[in-house]
Symmetry: C2
Subunit: 357 residues, 2 copies
Amino acid sequence: EKTAGFDPLRKVLADRLERDGVPMPKDEKERINSVTIVTGSQQALFTITNILIDPGDIVITPAPVYLGMLGPLGMHQANIITVPTDEHGIIPEFVEKAIGKAIEKFRRIPDFIYVISDADNPKGTTLPVKRRKQLYEIAVKYKILIVEDAAYRDIYFGGEKLPPIKSFDKNNEYVAYLRTTSKEAAVLRVGYCVLPRPIVDEFIKSKGYQDLCTSVISQVLLKEYYEKWIDKVLPKAVEEYKRRCKTMIESVNQYFPPGFHTKPQGGFFVWYESDKRGFNASSFLENVALKNNVNYVPGAAFYPVESLGYYYNPDNNEIERIKFPLNTMRLSYSLLPPEDISEGIKLLGKLLNEHLK
Amino acid sequence: EKTAGFDPLRKVLADRLERDGVPMPKDEKERINSVTIVTGSQQALFTITNILIDPGDIVITPAPVYLGMLGPLGMHQANIITVPTDEHGIIPEFVEKAIGKAIEKFRRIPDFIYVISDADNPKGTTLPVKRRKQLYEIAVKYKILIVEDAAYRDIYFGGEKLPPIKSFDKNNEYVAYLRTTSKEAAVLRVGYCVLPRPIVDEFIKSKGYQDLCTSVISQVLLKEYYEKWIDKVLPKAVEEYKRRCKTMIESVNQYFPPGFHTKPQGGFFVWYESDKRGFNASSFLENVALKNNVNYVPGAAFYPVESLGYYYNPDNNEIERIKFPLNTMRLSYSLLPPEDISEGIKLLGKLLNEHLK
């Protein structure tokens, strides 16, 4: 029981999750047991992979995909099939086609679909309600788990929040819903999740083997914070992120060479793709940007390695060895105040324009 | 770098470890890098297993062995060869013979030898210096890692501490030395270890996949505690454990039926074996002890499951399927004050005497 978390915190989180659209049982004990505490949501990603993936098993992810998911998948030697995304995130039609092709090619049903619905890392995109519903229907149709990583759920400035994919999963069967406290209280390393009944016992057992339980002092602090303080403190922080995001988008529009960029409604990141397909953002970082004291993460970091990575190609409806463009970058607006963001983007834009002219 | 821990804490711990007999480099940066922070020493046990063990690989442990080691070993499907222990802990002569027989039987070199040198869990035994040296020599001779779990190192009341096995490992090659803060500061979930060079990078990578890093707030608190407070606070706690241990041993001598028990010099546990070989401590717990509000852990909990467990039998010098006596119990003196310990042991002794007469 201690492995699954500190009950008073689980209770507070269950109530909050229900207000946020996550189906919760009425019975108090069942509510508490619905929430599993983890040592950061990274532990949830690791543990789900650890209990579900044998070498050669299949996982579906967006292209590009959160780096923290790629580590555990690589360690467990999953075949990672990446699916195209656009300015609204992963495209459900291609997810379904990729599943069909994966079954043909690998003779295995994918074990799970990984997705960040709200303010994706790295792209900053938010899935529209229609796509959320479509993904849920695909999960039910093929009996495949969705791992809905809602790490940025609390950092949302796009108006009314959209219902999580988890909201459709009334009987707690198909969606593992992952949340974290790390975007407001990073030093505490506490995440929490609602896990479908078929996997929860195995998950807790594996977590126990890993670290017995999550820091109790962190959980006691967070119980106080989530019960009494978060709703007073968080809106100010979110307002500030919104300001920083706005500044970054305006600066990119003003100073960057022609290309596509996302317009986040939350989270920490803008994704930029240069119109010049031949542009290599990794070598530009090393040879130009860092030398001028500007930093970003090249998009190449968010794709699986060649030995495990695949790509669903909608042009020919085939699963191919991973390939991805090198002309992309993840720009972060979370750390610096607006003045520094506009200065940095201005400088980076100038360097890019010189380099690409 | 953050994954390996908070540098100021690593520095404080490196200095303490050196004073405690662990070889440390002179260079400050190297000293810091010698100490890896983990989310409880359970994470070290899991991670070492995770990076070294493939299904069917071999690990040598004492019989009985700490329960927290058995979980990760079982999950990774290690073959667990248990080796006889006496009132001083694991017997090196049999460790060496078991290694030889394991190589014959399984055609694999064991990946590591697991041992708790100081105040073992569950037996409460402390390895004499001679055995520590012998184990180190076996490790060097066969090039096998020793995982020296020093969880109870700080809870020692037997006079001058003995040098850790790690103290012989001058070049940091053969001994992974695991320490924890959990015996004094359980709520923080922080352990630390000195890992041999051949495994440290892989270890940190795996830890990163599991939880990115250990709670920073816990590490900051512990840095203060280990720098300024522990040496003022800990001696009083250790004195109290000594008093409780003494009470338990006296009470067992006075009230228990004939049998063997250990005489711990530290830690939390006394191990008792009834002279009646047919006594079943598990069913006695369920049917008698719990109904009378006395609790202990039956010794059977500290052996591997039949599918993975083996036993080195010195009588015929063979490795056999696991078998173990059921007439044993682990008695804990850590939680209750002396009055309650003597009352509990008196009651348990009375029940045992009635049951075994």
